[in-house]
């Protein structure tokens, strides 16, 4: 299953994520160092928790003197969006061994989710390649974090600029989505939802609430559109049938064509 070809495929797909993780992992490690976490602790977080947004939030909130319970609740709420990613990979993991599915699911991040979804949609992709993408990304993340923790404040990287690498990756993943009308409804509602949540102070669940609002809105839009299509074709069928009955009475052989035309005109 794990052959050289698959490793090469996975490496090609993972390179942008790995480089992006160097750019944001080092500042994240520096930030963790600033609240007194050592390289071992930073490594444990990267290996067992493995969350870019989460590992930025922990030191940021700790520096802002938030209580431990509030840090944990906010970080966990932000990470509930992972449930959406996990659910979306269920079809791809059909017929895959439990262990492979477990390790793949346990190492999915925002960025590797984006890359894997695109690769599965392209075709010629598999869960073992996707797992390797995850593990390569995680190695890059862990090493960069440890490097950041070792460097500490010795180098002056402006953290807000470095963190923009992560935002840029999300923007790229967003604009490369297919821009169907339903997807645009999802995007606009998700953004509005995040903004509204933040406006009323719900910063922790903002991402999850916004994303769910986007999905719900797009579903409502798509099913309303389906209903319109079904109604219109039902109307046309009814009109066609009425015409067919009328024309059949005259004994005209060309009833089908005449009926269809009548239906369209109505």
């Amino acid at each position: 299953m794990i052959c050289r070809e698959h490793i090469r495929d996975a490496f090609h797909a993972a390179v942008p994520i790995m480089l992006g993780y160097v750019a944001i992992g080092i500042p994240c490690g520096i930030l963790c160092d600033s609240i007194g976490l050592g390289p071992l602790q930073v490594f444990l977080l990267s290996a067992l928790f493995y969350s870019g947004a989460g590992q930025f939030m922990i030191p940021n909130m700790y520096l802002a003197a938030s209580p431990l319970a509030s840090i944990i609740a906010s970080v966990s709420l932000v990470n509930t969006r992972q449930m959406l990613y996990s659910a979306s990979f269920a079809p791809e993991c059909q017929g895959v061994s439990k262990r492979l599915a477990f390790f793949f699911a346990a190492t999915v991040t925002d960025e590797s989710y984006g890359v894997s979804t695109a690769k599965f949609a392209e075709g010629g992709w598999s869960v073992d390649r996707a797992l390797m993408v995850n593990l390569l990304s995680q190695s890059s993340w862990a090493l960069s974090n440890v490097a950041g923790a070792l460097l500490g404040g010795a180098i002056g990287i402006p953290l807000n600029i470095a963190a923009f690498a992560m935002t840029s990756i999300f923007i790229c993943l967003l604009v490369t989505q297919r821009m169907t009308s339903a997807n645009i409804v999802a995007i606009v509602l998700a953004m509005a939802g995040v903004y509204a949540c933040k406006a009323v102070g719900l910063t922790g669940p903002a991402i999850l609430v916004g994303a769910l609002l986007g999905v719900a809105g797009a579903m409502a839009y798509a099913s309303a559109r389906d209903r319109r299509i079904v109604e219109r074709s039902a109307q046309m069928d009814a009109a066609r049938r009425a015409d067919a009955v009328g024309v059949a009475g005259t004994g005209d052989g060309a009833s089908g064509g005449a009926g269809a035309e009548g239906g369209v005109r109505r």
């Binding site: 942008p16 994520i17 609240i35 007194g36 444990l44 067992l48 928790f49 969350s51 989460g54 922990i58 431990l68 944990i72 970080v75 966990s76 990470n79 969006r81 992972q82 449930m83 959406l84 990613y85 996990s86 659910a87 979306s88 990979f89 269920a90 079809p91 993991c93 599915a101 699911a105 960025e111 600029i161 470095a162 923009f164 690498a165 935002t167 840029s168 990756i169 999300f170 923007i171 790229c172 967003l174 490369t176 339903a182 997807n183 995007i187 606009v188 998700a190 953004m191 939802g193 995040v194 903004y195 933040k198 991402i207 999850l208 994303a211 986007g214 999905v215 797009a218 579903m219 798509a222």
Partner: protein, 107 residues
């Protein structure tokens, strides 16, 4: 942060994270997905990435203290959109984002 606090954060956040990552997949795996659900799953990527981008870029009242420098991330984001549309590359997008953000900060 002490080791005691660290362990609490690591264990609780690690476990909730693992549950969020693994449980939905195993609950849905091996079942015939109803068409409504698979349609909803298809809307997750655009909605999730839009939410993540909005979370990074938008804060209520962000421009109330003046358009600049608060507008830097928004202008840098537009540069990233242009590069992403043109190249479809995560790496180039990240490079363009960080470079334009840094340049705009220097101006």
């Amino acid at each position: 942060m002490s080791w005691g606090e660290f362990w609490v954060v690591l264990v609780v956040c690690g476990l909730t994270m693992l549950a969020c990552r693994v449980l939905p997949l195993f609950l849905l795996k091996g079942r015939e997905l109803p068409p409504t659900l698979s349609r909803a799953l298809g809307f997750i990527p655009p909605a999730a990435f839009a939410a993540l981008v909005a979370n990074d870029l938008l804060t209520p009242g962000m421009l109330s203290a003046g358009l600049w420098p608060a507008g830097i991330p928004l202008v840098a984001a537009l540069c990233v959109v242009a590069v992403a549309c043109k190249t479809k590359s995560l790496l180039w997008s990240a490079v363009a984002g960080v470079a334009s953000y840094a340049l705009l900060t220097l101006i």
